[in-house]
Symmetry: C2
Subunit: 146 residues, 2 copies
């Protein structure tokens, strides 16, 4: 099993795509779906989630579409993950205090709390700006493998 769901993967790709168009035109869901290999219907669903979370702005009507609500440098991976699949937690007891009655004396929870914190900080530290510049430079020096 993987931590990031496919949902989140799609959302990530869509956001990276939008980051590439930041400051320019809006991108329609149809275009996102073809460019990122996501079914149109499902892509629409995901864009709704991102919109509800305030990560993207939407423009309705013909020539409408989506654009980033904030500059790429201010959108972290954690933001996107939270919007789509909710907060990531090592164990249930970090999400719901009442999940486990043994919590107060639990040595396990105490040990992994540090790792939990590190993961969140790492994900919060990676922003869309890094992805965007990377993929741009990749487009320039085309042919470079991996």
């Amino acid at each position: 099993m993987s931590i990031l769901r496919r949902n989140t993967d799609y959302a990530l790709r869509a956001m990276v795509n939008l980051a590439g168009h930041y400051g320019g035109d809006v991108v329609a869901t149809r275009q996102l779906s073809t460019e990122e290999d996501i079914s149109y219907q499902y892509a629409a669903k995901i864009m709704q989630l991102l919109h509800a979370a305030g990560l993207v702005k939407s423009t309705m009507g013909p020539h409408g579409g989506f654009s980033l609500a904030r500059p790429p440098a201010e959108v972290s991976l954690l933001d996107i993950i939270k919007a789509v699949q909710g907060a990531i937690s090592l164990n249930d007891c970090f999400l719901d205090v009442d999940a486990c009655p043994r919590r107060s004396t639990c040595v396990i929870s105490a040990k992994i709390a540090g790792l939990q914190e590190y993961i969140e900080k790492s994900l919060a530290g990676i922003t869309l700006a890094e992805f965007a510049t990377d993929s741009m430079s990749e487009q320039i020096k085309l042919g470079k493998e991996k």
Copy 2:
């Protein structure tokens, strides 16, 4: 959603319990199930998984039960997690190379690969020995909260 499944949580508790009895008597599944608040049938199932992974030794017949196959210091959290729920992966593409055709040019996968590695190293670094000594000292100075 949490990364560690309930399954894994049960297994962790059972292993910590066994670590407390390391060198002494074997512990019966019935005893583990009552002490750790797990249904007997389900506990038996989890012990099977741990046994199949070679983490515990089993003794059948009356007065039988389980004991650690290795000293607590040589059993890591990662070992237990792998035995019960398989390897932890941030994204499917770390588990299955063919999961994503865009892999070679994927900037996302490249970015999170480092975090993936850190998580595994962290989990591999935490051993049962730490839990065992912690819970023992906790039993001695009883009354200490959290």
